[in-house]
């Protein structure tokens, strides 16, 4: 069953389209990534999903409900961690958890939640005195305290150090393991590749691609990279004639080719035929980074 359905969503600010016909669906139990460069319209899209903005056109449904018309019922099933939001500076962690738990009809018990998010030692600390990572963890706790069916996490790991980021990834996997669907907004490729079941790449207000991380990488022209140092020079024309080749790079006696698995097979055949030995042979998949750059390449 689809937990979130977005169909042809449009939103402009001052005549400038920020979201320009975005569509996707998120299935129950998925970690769904919304990936894109800064200013691509990611945050506006999820704000429409959370009912914080009214779309100019298009349809948004969360568990079948309209987030604008049915704000309260959608807010009861959707927990959000937002960018650019804080709490009252003198509110303590405990008070924040108690207050937000009181907003929901069937809240989760906040104590185990605080325990799991390492907030237990700082329950009496005021919000203003928390570190960046502690504030983020508190916001995750507040997003979960209503026992939601889906959480929106918007740039959750931005500004965290690498260790805290990795801990947060584990946390996101735990959230999903607890049966909650996750809509994850990010601009970190590694994060999206590691966590997401499917990713919508958003660029300039449109969905540039929607696929699994592996699928996105496969779409990229040079999905597989093979590199080696040949024992004898190879004929460049032979290399350029390889099937499904995306790029050739000959530098310092090292050959680097990108293409598909078929390219790799043809290279091995070529080496065998010419009796050239490939030293330090490496075959790697390109990263989501490269695929992402391919997909969001500016036409400017």
């Amino acid at each position: 069953m689809s937990v979130i359905e977005v169909t042809d969503l449009r939103k402009s600010y001052g005549g400038r389209p920020v979201v320009d016909g975005v569509s996707f669906t998120v299935e129950e139990g998925e970690i769904f990534g919304v990936l894109g460069p800064n200013g691509a319209g990611k945050t506006t899209t999820v704000e429409c999903v959370g009912g914080l903005r009214v779309p100019d056109a298009g349809r948004v449904r969360v568990t079948g409900l309209d987030p604008v018309a049915d704000h309260r019922r959608v807010a009861e099933v959707l927990g959000a961690q937002l960018q650019r939001s804080e709490l009252q500076p003198k509110l303590t962690v405990r008070e924040a958890l108690e207050l937000y738990a009181a907003f929901y009809p069937r809240p989760a018990d906040w104590r185990p939640l605080a325990e799991r998010l390492d907030l237990a030692p700082m329950l009496d600390t005021r919000f203003a005195r928390l570190s960046g990572g502690q504030k983020q963890r508190l916001f995750v706790a507040l997003a979960l305290v209503g026992a939601p069916r889906v959480v929106v996490l918007d740039e959750l790991t931005t500004g965290l150090d690498p260790r805290a980021r990795r801990e947060t990834w584990q946390l996101i996997e735990d959230i999903r393991a607890g049966g909650v669907t996750v809509l994850l907004v990010t601009h970190f490729m590694e994060e999206a590749q590691r966590l997401c079941d499917r990713i919508a790449v958003i660029d300039r207000g449109r969905v540039a691609a929607l696929d699994t991380p592996a699928g996105l990488i496969r779409r990229s022209a040079g999905a597989t990279v093979i590199s080696f140092t040949p024992s004898a020079p190879l004929d460049e024309a032979d290399l350029r004639a390889l099937p499904q080749l995306a790029s050739v790079d000959l530098k310092d006696a090292r050959v680097t080719l990108s293409g598909t698995d078929e390219t790799v097979n043809a290279v091995i055949t070529l080496l065998a035929r010419t009796r050239v030995t490939a030293h330090q042979l490496r075959v790697t998949d390109t990263t989501l980074d490269d695929a992402f750059l391919d997909l969001t390449e500016t036409t400017a």
Partner: protein, 249 residues
């Protein structure tokens, strides 16, 4: 209790947070009565004065102290807090919950209005106990005038919160408006002692009208309907302006 605009959990939290603001507590609750005590300690303020219609200046300063707390709260307290809540995205965070951020506005108004009433009660009590100022002889009229004055102050605060994009702007506008408002309430010269024309002009302002209504009720008359009408008109106008211009983020 839970509606879109009133939520007891939010109200409890805002009350708790208000108690953690020593500045707000001092200026809204203690300062007006403190001023009354200082003025009342001057011997000449405890002698009947013909320019105060035969009242002692300390008698005339009790209604001033009563209005001072709500003036400070409405112009400086609430706008600072609400623009801060908007600036920091606290209202935004709350819009993502089943409770609307309007609940925060209501809670702030209840806390601020409650503090203003508490401050007024304290001023009246200290005036009675320390300086033998008689209690209002028309208590119902006094209470009505006070409640209307609180509503006017809160709606003025709401307009300031709506018009100020940042806490800095709210602070600047609040301070700039505070002095004329305190003047109208009679802090420098109680309205009884003002020249007739000035008193009439001041009577068109919310705090001037409130001061005159309180004086009439203190003396035992039902407050003049024109003063009460001025307060109601300001409240309606300011509330409409605030709801027209208020932005959640």
């Amino acid at each position: 209790m839970k509606t879109d605009v009133l939520d007891t959990a939010v109200l409890r939290t805002e009350l708790r947070l208000f108690r953690r603001e020593p500045g707000a507590l001092f200026w809204m609750l203690a300062f007006p009565t403190l001023l009354l005590v200082i003025l009342g300690s001057i011997p000449s303020f405890r002698e009947a004065d013909p320019s105060f219609d035969g009242l002692r200046p300390v008698d005339a300063y009790v209604p001033v102290a009563v209005l001072l707390g709500l003036t400070v709260g409405g112009l400086q307290g609430m706008p600072q807090v609400l623009t801060g809540y908007r600036e920091r995205g606290i209202l935004r965070r709350m819009s993502a919950t089943p409770v609307r951020p309007a609940a925060l506005l209501t809670a702030q108004m209840v806390v601020c209005g409650g503090a203003a009433l508490g401050s007024a009660l304290l001023a009246v009590a200290v005036g009675r106990l320390a300086f033998d100022v008689s209690l209002p002889e028309q208590p119902l009229g006094y209470l009505l005038a006070l409640l209307l004055a609180v509503l006017a102050a809160l709606s003025l605060g709401a307009v300031l919160s709506a018009l100020s994009r940042t806490t800095k702007i709210a602070g600047a506008i609040g301070s700039a408006a505070l002095f004329p408002a305190m003047f109208c309430a009679g802090v420098w010269l109680p309205v009884q002692a003002m020249p007739d024309l000035l008193a009439r002009i001041v009577g068109w302002t919310p705090f001037g009208a409130a001061a005159q209504a309180l004086n009439e009720a203190a003396a035992g008359d039902w407050p003049d309907w024109s003063h009460l009408a001025v307060l109601v008109a300001w409240t309606a106008l300011l509330t409409a302006a605030a709801s027209r211009w208020f932005r959640w983020e």
